[in-house]
Point group: C2
Chain length 525, copies 2
């Protein structure tokens, strides 16, 4: 398989040279119907309001073919060493299904069997906890699960937990309450600990390496508090499980009630469908809920093998995003879910995208000279409308937009006011925004004038179910992976976080003669 930098491709040059299109002119009601792709989990991806003419689409298809994006995806699915920096396979897809049906062996282990085995263990354990066979040390049933983790061990699982709360409530699914501790700021743990009943709380310690400073610090902080509990018969070792790799110091930690395994072939930001998300979600909402999420993700993973970009939502999204970044030159993208359940989903995507593709070297470690990953930010609509949309509509830069919406709400507690349901108002706003951003409005008063031409896409479906959520998650994972192929990046390492870690250790050790570090530390410590 050939890997070439974007600026060495014919497709890139052709796109730079080609006529640029205008959303305002392109967008028609007909286009809304035709530029619409089926995703997994019953979702659809609508790209009508993207500045992509038929000619541009042909050129994007040619680039995708030239870069051989889908073959690279299949190579990844077949167990190639796609994390070139760390020399690792990239196997997160396998946690939800084997797309190509190929046997993948690493470290002498059939990885399909390994992930399936862990999934079975998660099923058995979560069911035993939920039906009361496994209880806390004083015999009380667990009612709360508290995940201790940071980065990928926090953002994805937390976003998914929040996304399913309303669905579980609306469908009367038995629930264990989810709590999360991530920040090394002791106030994060203190605020959570304050509201916990230790007797009925099960902690989930999540760190692939088992050496993450923040996570171990928070474990110690929690354990110290648990040990001080005056409750008779209370035993902290019956209240904590771990999710880690087999080579981690936590793997053989006898103070854990149970240890679940992942491995080095799953990056933190891609780990929500492994035990990192699986343990907490299965405990909170039941294994079947987590399994449905996996099924939705797998469905999307299968659809993403399609070569025709007009039939592959993740690939079209990736190419549209590349076009906006490298051809149109827009440096940021907003994620705007019209769904309160997805309140923390943009924060997860921020990690997924910016940590994967915020790179200045190609997959061989050579410097590149074209823009890679954009800034990703977002908040739920309609809240964002009353916040930063002013800049999106009338600011001096164009920010491409990614909308997400659902026909139905989750709780089913909606009423008619002023002639319509709240959910109808929510979606009326969403529809209106797409049109407003694309078309703008002329006005004699420049302050009331909207230039329009703000590109957007829309992922939509009937309802945010576990299956739809899994597909949504996988859509973005695959989109980011595809963009990594186009930019010729390794989207699976994160060397950029190392320097800060090293210097933080120096500060803790007294700065070792580094005067600048000392000057800053003196302000703060």
């Amino acid at each position: 398989m050939e890997y070439i930098n974007l600026d060495k491709t014919k497709g890139y040059k052709a796109l730079l040279d080609a006529k640029k299109s205008n959303v305002k002119e392109l967008l028609t009601p007909e286009r809304v119907k035709t530029h619409d792709i089926q995703l997994g989990g019953g979702l659809r991806y609508n790209w009508a309001a993207m500045p992509l003419s038929d000619e541009t689409v042909s050129l994007l298809q040619a680039l995708a073919d030239e870069v051989d994006v889908i073959s690279k995806y299949k190579e990844l699915l077949s167990g190639a060493v796609m994390n070139t920096g760390e020399k690792r396979l990239v196997l997160h897809h396998l946690t939800r299904g084997n797309v190509l049906g190929k046997k993948i062996v690493a470290d002498g282990e059939d990885k399909d069997e390994f992930y399936k085995g862990e999934l079975e263990r998660i099923k058995a354990f979560s069911e035993a906890v939920r039906n009361g066979k496994i209880t806390g040390s004083t015999g009380k049933a667990f009612t709360t699960v508290c995940q201790i983790g940071i980065g990928g061990s926090d953002l994805g699982p937390r976003a998914l937990y929040l996304a399913l709360k309303g669905w579980a409530d609306g469908n009367s699914v038995k629930q264990l309450k989810g709590e999360f501790i991530s920040n090394v700021d002791p106030d994060d743990a203190a605020a959570v600990i304050e509201r916990l009943d230790f007797e009925t709380t099960l902690f989930i310690l999540v760190s692939k390496s088992g050496t993450t400073q923040e996570t171990l610090t928070n474990r110690d902080l929690v354990l110290e508090t648990l040990k001080k509990s005056p409750i008779k018969g209370f035993d902290p070792s019956k209240h904590m499980v771990a999710v880690t790799s087999k080579t981690s110091p936590l793997a053989s930690d006898s103070s854990m009630l149970e240890v679940f395994f992942m491995d080095d072939y799953i990056g933190g930001r891609y780990s929500s469908t492994s035990g990192v998300g699986g343990v907490v979600l299965s405990l909170a909402y039941g294994f079947d809920t987590f399994k449905a999420l996996l099924d939705g993700a797998h469905e999307e993973d299968v659809l993403a093998t399609e070569k025709d970009i007009t039939k592959n939502g993740a690939l079209m999204d990736a190419l549209a995003g590349f076009y906006l970044r490298n051809i149109a030159g827009y440096p940021a993208t907003a994620i705007l879910p019209y769904s309160q359940a997805l309140s923390r989903f943009p924060a997860h995507l921020q990690q997924l995208d910016m940590e994967s593709n915020g790179k200045h070297v190609n997959r061989n470690g050579e410097k590149i000279s074209y823009p890679t990953g954009p800034v990703i930010f977002g908040e739920p609509g309609t809240n964002g409308q009353h916040s930063f949309y002013q800049l999106l509509h009338q600011g001096t830069d164009i920010i491409p937009l990614q909308f997400i919406g659902f026909k139905k709400c989750q709780y089913g507690k909606d009423i008619i006011t002023a002639g319509s349901y709240s959910q109808t108002k929510l979606n009326a706003n969403l529809s209106a925004q797409i049109a407003a951003f694309a078309r703008g409005k002329d006005d004699e008063n420049p302050n009331k004038e909207f230039d329009g031409n703000r590109p957007s896409s829309l992922i939509y479906g009937d309802e945010l179910t576990p299956k739809a959520l899994g597909a949504l998650l996988a859509h973005y994972e695959n989109k980011v992976m595809f963009q990594g192929f186009i930019w010729n990046l390794n989207s699976f390492d994160q060397e950029g976080v190392q320097l800060g870690k090293v210097l933080a250790k120096k500060v803790l050790a007294g700065c070792e003669g580094d005067e600048l570090l000392k000057a800053y530390a003196d302000l703060l410590i």
Copy 2:
């Protein structure tokens, strides 16, 4: 007072022509000590890691003098019509003190007296609720306050509420629990209502106009639920107060237990120090806490009248931000508080900054041709380090950074692990990041190489107290206002949100023959 576009100033041209400086070369331990400005509330603003040489600082001072930034601030403080689009005074500073001591009359009313009078009413009411003189309709003391509002009636108050929770816990301050409903998505209200005990909950309905669609919809949703309560003697009208303007339909709503007033001279995103934030914060943490926040804000407002940019933190921050945006050409800025308490503060700043200065017309409504407000985003450190910092360190674009940190934690529940307190680890990371971003690191392996030259600033203090928080809030308000003066904008209107509202109404009315709107609505409704 003369108002001129940035591109007509001599100062802008001089800055464009001048030699550009390099953070890596400029930053020394000595500079950390000297480039440090006192803010209100015991905070300090350190700008050592900004790419501003002595020469650049002189040119920025010249620009500030040419634009007469401080005189414009004083004009605003004196009651000038600074919200030129809506032809309104801009009086949010007056809610925390009269900086210049001038009498300001509008609509035949002494505004100082008006705000003071409302503050007294908030004091009396909040104390009566907190000491049990005012109870719920069944005689039980209120234990929870639930704010219903959106945009400025939500983001600022919510961010401040969360910021003070740990401080209140750590100082054993009597608390009423705070809840917030904002989104028109019915799942937002459903999730909050689910955990409320109606008998002990007081709702605060906040809408300046009294016509905000989302807020009235959520009020109706809450009232409908309250009315269905089977509790004997339960009376919803004893469980809701309003914060609104005197001209709003809510002003005379007899179903309210009490109505507090603000006015049209306070924009939503600047309203946290009015009743919009004052009622909920005084109820939750006591009036003295809110008053301390006001005092901190006022202290900062007074300091911000200083003309010397090296002694005025808000002005220096504004000019540095302008420099990074218009001279260096960076389109986004990250807000990175190393304080879990400030978890939602970046979301507030996102509105404050992007809604105020995301404009394409000047204060006279004429189109301008230079970049204005940047994209603002952020999450607390150390969480962000495990998320999007990869792009900040090694991405292909430079993103300026605004760090915030405190020596002490709020809860005081910290322990030593691996030789240091969590708070020490937190701040070691913060110090390390500033140095890493500025200096970078050479390496033979480009994947482990850091270019450095990432500019940052640091706001820091001993502890996030109510007074420090007030100063922090005012610092950013004043910074945004100063940048508005430099860009010659009206930072106090938001015409860019109107078009979406109008089109949403059309969708709800059946689109009135707009085929594009209908095409999108058909996908979603």
